[in-house]
């Protein structure tokens, strides 16, 4: 039995977060009533003409710049095919002269994946099939919603550089982070604003030639992407080892059955009859525009992870690396940096952001960094216990803001003065003389007993750490 090598390339469609559509002034929005955001263009009425949306070009250039692409003069082309959700029965796309070419993306582990191209195109409408299921000849019809027709897309095509499903998942995840960081997209796979297709083939290890590939569609999550590739690789290897051949075809990932299924073969594939779109002029962003776009790019996820690593002192633990990835992925790193800059311990800010804040990421993104910083400073200086700090944080997230000192006071978490804490401890020691003697004799588990007595006596206002420290000091 020979060894097999997997070859994977990904095609990612990303809906651009523009106000309006690619070629008309209709609203670009998800989830509205069907066919409300449409005009003569969106339904391909005779006589309508496309007018290019400059904001879409800007966002597409931002993606190109973030992926280290060469941003070049480009030409829109018509991709001709009949489908009821395709209003003009052709899609305006870019073909032999795309806007962005020859870039790359580095995975978090440093593995570099080539980006062949990132071109602009318009989205189609959406079909909903209605009819009695299971009966082939049953009366059926389909409803078409053209709200999505003409929504701007960028299709990002990778080189076939990936060798494992884990790399493919990492690529998709990193790309999603980049798309969000550029402001080009919200990256929501569940709403279809990011859609991933995988080209998968296998070949004998060491071979220089590619095997026959299959394109897998309907991958609605990173997890589906990984599972589908693993399934497909196993299917292709089994076929080849059984003496069969892989047919070049498009396959559909059936999520519930956990398998890929043939959708259409190469022979059935359309001849798209591409030709330059005569209703548009070539798109050639000039050098000042390209420079402006490149200069206006903020830090990408990789840069942001590096910033957090530096804030942590440069040698993060495995757990911290996971926290860093999660925090950057959710866009909560600004919060951590702000807290760290304001003097709070970076590691504390990271762990809180990756856990308590991340659990409510929507509210977390609205959290005032100043409040977060001062809360963590209070905790670090012993004014609040960890438990108290978490409770205040929860309140801040729930209320959508507030001064942590005020909130702590409201919740009765006022820090005790050292004098009154001493008095309480004196009292507890005096009322439990036997236990105290045993504690002084070395019965360590009584530490918990005394601590909880003190906490009880102070209605949990005392800081547990301070209490323990004082008890230890008295034991000597």
């Amino acid at each position: 039995m020979s060894e097999w090598e997997t070859v994977i390339g990904l095609e990612v469609h990303c809906e651009l977060a523009t106000k309006t559509k690619l070629f008309c002034g209709c609203r670009n929005a998800f989830g509205d009533e069907p066919n409300v955001n449409i005009c003569p263009n969106c339904i391909g009425l005779p006589g309508s003409l496309p007018v290019l949306n400059e904001q879409a070009v800007e966002l597409a250039m931002r993606i190109g710049a973030a992926l280290h692409c060469d941003i070049r003069p480009s030409v829109f082309a018509r991709k001709n095919y009949f489908y009821p959700d395709q209003a003009k029965d052709y899609q305006i796309s870019q073909y032999d002269l795309p806007l962005n070419v020859a870039g790359w993306l580095d995975l978090p582990d440093g593995f570099r994946v080539g980006v062949t191209r990132a071109h602009m195109e318009e989205d189609t409408g959406k079909l909903t099939h209605i009819g009695a299921s299971g009966r082939i000849n049953a009366a059926q019809h389909a409803l078409v919603d053209y709200n999505r027709s003409g929504v701007p897309l960028v299709e990002i095509v990778s080189e076939p550089d990936m060798r494992t499903s884990a790399q493919a998942r990492a690529y998709a995840s990193e790309l999603r982070g980049i798309l969000v960081a550029t402001g080009a997209s919200d990256g929501r796979m569940e709403e279809g604003s990011m859609r991933v297709d995988a080209n998968v083939s296998v070949r004998p290890a060491g071979s220089q030639e590619f095997g026959t590939r299959c394109e897998i569609k309907n991958l609605n999550s990173f997890s589906s992407l990984g599972r589908a590739i693993d399934y497909e690789v196993a299917r292709q290897i089994a076929l080849l080892e059984g003496g069969g051949v892989v047919d070049q075809e498009t396959r559909h990932w059936n999520e519930s059955a956990g398998r890929t299924e043939a959708l259409r073969s190469k022979e059935e594939a359309n001849d798209y009859r591409y030709f330059p779109e005569p209703d548009l002029v070539p798109l050639a962003p000039d050098a000042p525009w390209r420079d402006r776009v490149r200069a206006s790019l903020g830090p990408m996820p990789a840069d942001r992870r590096a910033t957090l690593v530096t804030a942590l002192g440069g040698d993060p633990s495995a757990a911290e690396i996971d926290q860093i990835n999660a925090v950057v992925d959710l866009g909560l790193d600004a919060l951590v940096n702000a807290a760290s800059d304001a003097g709070a311990p970076a590691s504390l800010a990271l762990v809180r952001a990756a856990n308590e804040v991340a659990a409510q990421s929507e509210a977390g993104l609205r959290l005032d960094p100043g409040a977060f910083a001062s809360l963590l400073t209070m905790e670090a200086s012993g004014k609040l216990s960890a438990t108290q700090s978490k409770a205040v944080l929860a309140a801040l997230l729930e209320r959508g803001g507030g001064d942590p000192a005020v909130v702590a006071k409201e919740m009765g978490f006022e820090a005790m003065s050292a004098d009154s804490l001493m008095a309480v401890i004196d009292e507890v020691v005096a009322t439990n003389p036997d236990e105290w003697t045993r504690f002084l004799d070395g019965e360590d588990k009584l530490m918990g007993f005394f601590t909880s007595k003190v906490m009880e006596a102070t209605a949990k206002k005392a800081n547990g750490k301070d209490v323990a420290a004082e008890l230890r000091r008295r034991r000597g």
């Binding site: 003569p40 339904i43 391909g44 009425l45 005779p46 006589g47 309508s48 003409l49 496309p50 007018v51 290019l52 018509r78 001709n80 009949f82 009821p84 209003a87 003009k88 029965d89 052709y90 389909a142 078409v144 001849d271 009859r273 591409y274 030709f275 005569p278 209703d279 548009l280 002029v281």
Partner: protein, 474 residues
């Protein structure tokens, strides 16, 4: 038949000596009385025209200027979208479809005070040179009822020739304004590509289509051109610059203008047509122009290139008539069967022929040999024009190879029909302006058109030379 020019009608309406409503009523009455013979209109916009005329009169009554085309009736080719009013392109597949918007040129007409009289007959989707390819029956030539008016804008050309309206709008993809103008004995002009907005023009071949005027005089054609020319943000191929007004210098004559008499646009024509063109050239020389013969052999490749590029674009532009969203739908067992049944029933033979031709030309394995090669030829033709315009200000030639031919004479011979466009196609390929001006008659007594071709944005000089030809013809 009225003989009043647009300029005189507008002057009368603006000065209050004649009401726009009176002009419109008279035009509507003439169409009602006489158009049975010619079938120039597919649909007359009676109510809309009267309302527009009344609005113009109200402006005049209130001391406002309704614009340069005040009260002038205009015949619109039926591939120009008119809000709420049927726009069929001469095809069953769009029968009953009412656009929810006006073409930019229709808006411009209204703002200039013109009155849209109705929608005129045309070859289906502008594919044809005789208006016999209309799904709603042919138009007849008002100069001779047995003859075709040319096409594809035959309805607008014939409506102006019949005197129903002083002005008409057509579209010219390979000669569809100039050839019917020549055959009907009126003036017809194709502007520089991008000078007039295509927004609301139902596309045939997007890189070649251009809207332009019909008129009985060169001055009227310039008047209408000045109204419709200009930048439109709704058309990405619309030129951003402000057009040079053409009317002001139109009577300046041709002294010292360098005119190239283009042998390639004369030699293949019928001898009576060729004779008129040579006479026009002689007359222009007598009037002070510097006239020389010039040969541009690349023009001979134009026809073949055109009949690949135009069908290729058309095959894509016409894909949308699939029965899904608007227009005709013929049901089938599934979507594909419905698409096929709809197109089978909705498109005529010539449209089907060109859609198949264009689909083939764009197909994998044929693209380079056909479509891409045709585009290279197009570049060749443009360069040939550029060389010619180094020596000449304008070129002169015939518009159509013959005078109007009999109805039915060429319907079964597509190649013979296509040959009608041989003299007009080069300007479409290059995107340059060109105009046809009546100049005498052929042996059959039917009008001959002389064509004046100019470089890109050379409309002002082109109109000036055309005006001289018009004067010399009298």
């Amino acid at each position: 038949m009225t003989t009043a020019t647009a300029a005189s009608v507008a002057a009368a309406v603006r000065s209050g000596t004649r009401s726009a409503r009176d002009v419109t009523d008279e035009a509507l009455a003439a169409v009602a009385a006489e158009d049975d013979r010619f079938h120039t209109f597919l649909d007359v916009m009676s109510d809309e025209a009267k309302a527009q005329a009344d609005a113009v009169d109200a402006l005049v009554a209130n001391g406002h200027d309704p614009g340069p085309l005040a009260g002038v009736p205009v015949a619109l080719k039926d591939n120009l979208c008119t809000r709420g009013f049927a726009t069929t392109c001469g095809s069953r597949i769009l029968e009953g479809w009412r656009p929810p918007y006006d073409a930019t040129v229709v808006d411009a007409l209204r703002r200039a005070g013109a009155v849209a009289l109705g929608k005129t007959n045309m070859d289906e989707f502008a594919m044809g040179s005789s208006t016999e390819n209309s799904a709603f029956g042919p138009t007849r030539n008002p100069r001779c009822i047995e003859k075709v008016p040319g096409g594809s804008s035959g309805g607008s050309a014939a409506a102006v020739a019949a005197g129903f309206a002083p002005l008409g709008l057509g579209s010219d993809t390979g000669g569809s304004i100039r050839q019917p103008a020549a055959l009907c004995g009126v003036v017809g002009m194709k502007p520089t590509y991008g000078r007039v907005s295509r927004y609301g023009l139902v596309a045939f071949a997007s890189s070649l289509d251009q809207i332009g005027p019909f008129a009985t005089t060169v001055e009227d054609a310039a008047l209408l051109y000045d109204v419709i020319a200009g930048h439109d943000p709704m058309d990405s191929t619309s030129l951003p610059s402000t057009p040079e007004p053409t009317l002001s210098g139109i009577g300046d004559g041709v002294e010292r203008i360098r005119i190239g008499l283009c042998r390639d646009l004369v030699d293949g024509c019928a001898s009576d047509v060729a004779s008129r063109v040579l006479e026009a050239a002689d007359a222009l020389a007598t009037a002070g122009a510097k006239v020389e013969e010039v040969s541009v052999p690349e023009f001979s490749y134009g026809l073949s290139a055109y009949y690949l590029i135009a069908p290729a674009e058309a095959s894509s532009n016409l894909a949308r008539y699939d029965g899904v969203r608007y227009g005709l739908r013929v049901d089938g067992d599934d979507v594909e069967a419905m698409n096929t049944a709809t197109r089978t029933a909705g498109f005529g033979a010539e449209v089907k022929r060109r859609v198949m031709l264009g689909t083939y030309a764009l197909s994998a394995g044929y693209y380079d040999a056909y479509y891409a090669q045709a585009q290279r030829v197009r570049t060749l033709v443009m360069r040939a024009f550029d060389r010619a315009y180094e020596s000449y200000d304008v070129l002169l030639g015939a518009t159509a190879p013959t005078t109007a031919f009999d109805l039915g004479a060429k319907v079964d011979d597509p190649m013979a029909m296509y040959m009608n466009d041989v003299c007009t196609i080069p300007s479409n390929l290059s995107g340059h302006p060109a105009i046809s001006v009546p100049f005498g008659t052929g042996e059959d007594g039917l009008p001959v058109g002389v064509q004046v071709l100019a470089p890109a944005l050379g409309e002002a000089l082109m109109f000036r030379v055309a005006r001289a030809v018009e004067v010399l013809a009298q």
